[in-house]
Symmetry: C2
Subunit: 317 residues, 2 copies
């Protein structure tokens, strides 16, 4: 594994041909914005490029997808963006494991699986890293690229709310806003953070009503059970945006959201309000992420899952 | 009324002595941040200055207040910040109406009541305007001033979410973050946007459960009634942060929050998701504000209030 800096990454991108761009399963704003901005940049340079994801792109990110049809071609180069671990390729893992030529990432938990790696764990998002790469390459920014990069930076920072937001994040956003004043950043934010379907609102009410408090209110658990999803007509995937709900009570230090994927199978999101490293907690369960926002999967009964989680958080507090 | 530019405002502040700084009733992050930053700047220059507000500063803004005791002195100069209209002085109006020497504001609805006015309706917040004034004056920024200015910009933009956020807002925030990296901006954001008391969470559930939809879902009303406040042990003032709740359903263009102050007396907040000018709607009821966020007060029965509001919004749609 060879570490690259921003300039070397630019040189790599200039010289690559016929690139597949891999993003992680359960795609979010940052990997989608990273993937499609890079596709646009490479196409602008006359290269063939396409984004591959194990899961469909959720409809609310549809505005980031280009109108041009996908090209069919065999890859000469495999690039991953915002993917800390090859297992996060999902169903694409069996095909691309050990084959990634370049990884561009911002996760401190990156497994260094690629032949070349640009990792900036201090950046808010992969989009912020890519923004710097493109600027140094002298890429001509377009509205399409600006929307992708803004969306990635905004979604990974909770709209510039979390402590991964840095001066560099704000300056990158300011530059995009100045160059492309006609983009409706406010409508992007609304779609990303505020809009809920009636089913999501009902499900949120149910989850709030059953919020559990532990360790003197320093820890909360919110359950997105299959029953809540079924009763309110929502999909477990529609619950992605609710991971911060568990942090809303005053005094909470760790907020846990448990999403039931199938009976006995749970996807866990941990959020830290202050200084607890939830990435370390999730790593003890085979997961990972960022210090303030991390995840893992657990199986068992709800009682077993609850006990395991509370014990792990108690040890960390 | 004489319009001042940023440099002239700086000169005014340099020459003023013994200043009272007036902020608006029901104080929010922007007027508090503006007021206390200006107090700090004037004191730094060896002047006497103090902030006056008709209502108490809510406890969650306590971290912006200086430790030094308030000085007792008679004013030689009256400055208002973030106050569009003298009626917003609340109980201080009778004393200071017609006496304001300098107003620094960002509300397009400013009534030009002061002898001198620095108005930048394109700025996100009065704090953004003041930040520019202080920079041009060559003020030595302190952590205290940085916290005040950041809090004002963040709160008035919904944490950089609304369309009043501009490149200048982002750059001002980036500068503060670079100069004062030890300030916990993430904890300020958490306190301003995410933390709720158990009573607020219960009240929010009740409000969401009774959300009303009108005009094919393009308009919503959320009621913070005295009954909901009483049942959940919260004060009507604790409901300040909930004005965006009414905008959460998909497809809503105007979200209305009605807070019952006393039986038959309602404080109305309108939020616009897209392009409806809610300031114009509120002006027809004697209120005002910004294009996307405005307010007014109405009296009558809930049915009367509802009909008046829906008719006014329907006319604007």
């Amino acid at each position: 594994m060879i570490r690259l800096d921003t300039a070397q990454t630019g040189a790599f991108l200039r010289s690559c041909e016929d690139a597949y761009i891999l993003i992680h399963r359960s795609p979010d704003g940052d990997c989608i914005g990273s993937g499609y901005s890079l596709q646009a940049v490479l196409r602008q340079m006359g290269k063939r490029a396409k984004v591959l994801c194990a899961d469909p792109i959720p409809p609310r990110f549809g505005f980031l997808l280009p109108e041009e049809p996908e090209e069919e071609f065999a890859p000469k180069c495999i690039i991953s963006v915002d993917v800390a671990d090859e297992t996060l390729f999902g169903d694409l893992e069996k095909t691309y494991r050990g084959r990634v030529d370049l990884c561009i990432d911002h996760h401190i938990s990156n497994r260094e699986y690629a032949a070349h790696l640009l990792l900036d764990a201090g950046a808010s998002s992969a989009c912020e890293v890519l923004c710097r790469v493109y600027r140094e390459m002298g890429v001509t920014f377009t509205e399409e690229i600006a929307k992708c990069l803004y969306t990635g930076m905004a979604t990974d920072t909770g709209c510039f709310k979390f402590d991964n937001t840095g001066a560099g994040t704000f300056r990158a956003a300011a530059d995009l806003m100045e160059e492309f004043p006609s983009v409706r950043y406010d409508l992007i934010n609304r779609a990303m953070f505020d809009v809920k379907t009636p089913g999501q609102i009902r499900a949120e009410i149910a989850m709030l009503q059953h919020m559990e408090y532990f360790l003197d209110g320093r820890v909360t658990i919110v359950w997105a059970t299959l029953a809540i999803c079924r009763e309110n007509g929502v999909d477990e995937r529609d619950m992605e945006g609710l991971a911060n709900l568990a942090l809303s009570p005053e005094g909470v230090e760790v907020g846990i959201t448990v999403r039931e994927r199938e009976p006995g199978q749970f996807k866990i999101s941990l959020r830290s309000a202050k200084d607890v490293n939830v990435s370390a907690i999730c790593q003890t369960f085979g997961g990972g992420g960022h210090i303030k926002a991390a995840g893992c999967t657990l199986s068992g009964t709800p009682d077993e899952v609850r006990s395991q989680l509370i014990a792990a958080v108690e040890a960390a507090l």
